[in-house]
């Protein structure tokens, strides 16, 4: 115990980036989210309220930024570090959060896959703790095989509770 430098070393360890397919998935998510706005802007265009393109052009620019640029930055902002005895998850572009869960405090582990994730061969690793804050820490955008192997290595660390 005591303030050894171990944690600080963890601090400086480079984060492992998420799977590159995660960017594609974020792009697809953004594109799907843009569909209602596309329809809305086309409807407003057809109503002839303002000169031609007054709704559609800003929409296309915003959508292009959200689909092409933002997923790159979101992907770059995320990362994880699987240490010897702890998992560190970093996420958030505007609101950054940097969570560390020691394996010894993990209650159970989930690997989940949504339909989009399945399409790209990705999975989300969810680590549950007993704490009220961070009762479950999710790490999305892992390659499915990586998520499964991470689950196994965390599970190997969790000692069985005494009976």
């Amino acid at each position: 115990m005591g303030d050894t430098g171990q944690g600080i070393i963890t601090e400086e360890r480079a984060l492992t980036p998420l799977d590159p397919a995660h960017i594609k998935m974020l792009r697809l998510q953004a594109a799907i989210a843009a569909v209602p706005f596309a329809i809305g802007s086309l409807v407003l265009e057809s109503a002839n309220l303002l000169p031609m393109g007054a709704f559609f052009v800003p929409f296309v620019l915003a959508a292009a930024w959200l689909i092409a640029r933002v997923p790159l930055r979101r992907h770059a902002a995320r990362g994880y570090d699987l240490g010897a005895d702890r998992l560190r998850v970093v996420r958030g572009l505007l609101f950054r959060s940097d969570t560390v869960v020691p394996f010894g405090r993990v209650q159970h582990i989930d690997v989940t896959q949504g339909p989009l994730e399945r399409m790209f061969g990705l999975a989300t690793l969810v680590v549950h703790t007993a704490g009220t804050h961070n009762a479950s820490v999710a790490l999305p955008g892992l390659a499915q095989a990586d998520a499964a192997s991470m689950r196994e290595s965390i599970r190997a660390h969790i000692k069985r509770e005494t009976l």
Binding site: D3, R96, G104, H133, N134, A135, R160
Partner: protein, 509 residues
């Protein structure tokens, strides 16, 4: 059917399913009837035109009683519990059956609760807290008190392994088994009651008067009614001049004060009468209650953190309250009140019995980042400023000055929050103190924390500060506006503590 023998069988492990106490049907039925009274009244009131009033009400009441008794009997018939070697099992449910098994080692605490009627019949509700959250615990209503106490002893014996580990943590307190740590004599209760001043009763009365005003013979919201009631006196009161009016206002305020103090006293006395916290060999035991008596036992090693709370006025007189944070629930709130109203030097021994130390003189308190509170004041000021700008262009531009009056208040508030907030960490514990008028102190054991998060919003990133959130089983512990370097240092230290200990044995799951 095998009735529960009162504390007879010493070895109940081989027993089959048992029923709860038959007398419990009476208590249960009365509860059901009480619940059906209001619907019955509502029904009778809704149909009052079709039927003659009294007969209708009587009919509905009889029906409510009959249903209440029937439900209670069926429920009693369908509820059994089994005290096994490894766990306690409960089977209940009239239409949909539930079978629940709780292993002894997962039981956080056992509480006995005795509402007035159950108490008169010598019964108690026994509840096994698991900390699973929601309604996921076993509650047996009602068992004879002796049987309840026997079950509690049984659960404790089954958990002796856990206790041995606990003893290592708290060797000093272990020696003095059954020692009374804290009690509230009537004098203390009276002082506490005065500080619990509350106008809730008055508000309820006023609300009820408004709700049911059509039943009242007079229209209380109409000034004319009162004038008529007072009759000629009204003119006389008016004629008496400002002195008498001032006296009347003083009398009104005085009666409000009396109501407020009386409410506080009555509440405090009913809730905390006979408050006693004992340190037994196997945990903490708390008894309290005037009409509804409760008796809770919690193992000391289940205490995850302690929280010291106070309020503005009582703080000036040196009064504080102490709570234990654990996974178990206490009457709806997340933590167990172990000393509702005490001096700090009374709180210290209770805390040390649970393995916690209050912040001493040698502790190195650290202040939060000043920048965060400046940011807070700036962001908080935006709303009044926007309103003021809006008013400038309104027909009354002079009114724009009014919202600006809020600015000094906001600034002062942030200043006080900055002054009060501080945090510290020592070899074993982590301390957080925050709050504007009445600072609260949270103390957690470093080893018992679950996770560490450093969170930063856009402003925090610019200002180089962060919110540090520590995962705590059964409670929350977060530090606002910690300088980033401090947050990293605390995180590294806490993580070292957590990973350096054979965690699986400490996990309270």
């Amino acid at each position: 059917m095998s009735d529960v023998p009162e504390g007879a069988q010493p070895e109940a492990t081989a027993d089959g399913p048992r029923r709860t106490a038959p007398l419990g049907i009476v208590v249960g039925a009365l509860g059901d009837i009480r619940k059906s009274v209001i619907p019955a009244i509502a029904g009778a009131y809704g149909l009052r035109d079709q039927f003659s009033g009294l007969g209708m009400i009587a009919g509905v009441a009889v029906l409510a009683v009959a249903i209440g008794i029937a439900v209670a009997v069926v429920r009693w018939l369908r509820t059994t519990y089994t005290v096994g070697a490894e766990d306690i099992r409960l089977e209940a449910g009239v239409l949909s059956r539930t079978a629940r098994a709780v292993p002894y080692e997962r039981i956080q605490d056992v509480s006995l609760e005795q509402p007035l009627l159950a108490r008169a019949l010598g019964l108690a509700q026994v509840r096994f807290e698991t900390g699973a959250g929601g309604g996921d615990e076993i509650a047996l209503a009602y068992l004879p008190l002796a049987e309840g106490e026997r079950l509690r002893e049984l659960v404790r014996e089954r958990k002796d392994d856990d206790i041995a580990e606990d003893a290592a943590l708290v060797p000093a307190a272990e020696a003095a088994a059954g020692e009374v740590l804290f009690a509230m004599p009537p004098r203390r209760l009276a002082t506490f009651g005065l500080f619990e001043f509350s106008l809730a009763a008055f508000a309820v009365a006023a609300g009820a008067a408004q709700q049911f005003d059509e039943f009242l013979p007079i229209d209380i919201w109409d000034g004319d009614t009162w004038r008529e009631l007072l009759g000629a006196n009204a003119d006389r009161v008016a004629a008496l001049g400002p002195l008498a009016q001032a006296a009347a206002i003083a009398a009104a305020i005085g009666s409000l004060m009396v109501i407020g103090f009386a409410t506080g006293l009555a509440r405090t006395f009913t809730r905390d009468w006979g408050f006693m916290l004992t340190r037994t060999a196997k945990g903490f035991r708390r008894q309290r209650g005037l009409f509804t008596k409760t008796d809770v036992v919690m193992p000391a090693h289940r205490v995850q953190a302690i929280a010291i709370r106070t309020r503005l006025l009582r703080r000036l007189f040196g009064w504080h309250g102490l709570k234990f944070v654990s996974l178990a629930q206490d009457a709806g709130s997340g933590s167990h009140v172990v000393a509702p109203f005490a001096r700090l030097d009374e709180i210290a021994p209770i805390a040390s019995a649970a393995g916690f130390a209050l912040p001493g003189d040698g502790i190195e308190w650290r202040r939060p980042a000043t920048r965060a509170f400046v940011d807070g004041a700036v962001v908080g000021s935006l709303v009044p400023i926007v309103i003021a700008v809006g008013l400038l262009f309104s027909p009354a531009p002079l009114a724009a000055a009014l919202p600006l009056l809020a600015l000094p208040v906001i600034a002062l508030g942030q200043y006080f929050r900055w002054r009060r907030a501080r945090h510290a960490i020592d070899a074993r514990q982590i301390y957080a103190r925050q709050g504007w008028l009445a600072p609260s102190i949270d103390i957690a054991n470093r080893v018992k924390l679950q996770s560490v998060e450093i969170a930063q919003g856009p402003l925090a990133r610019r200002g180089n500060y962060a919110t540090l959130r520590l995962g705590l089983a059964g409670g929350t512990l977060s530090f606002e506006a910690v300088p980033l370097s401090d947050a990293r240092r605390i995180r590294a230290a806490v993580l070292d503590s957590i990973t350096g200990v054979d965690f699986s044995r400490l996990n309270s799951g």
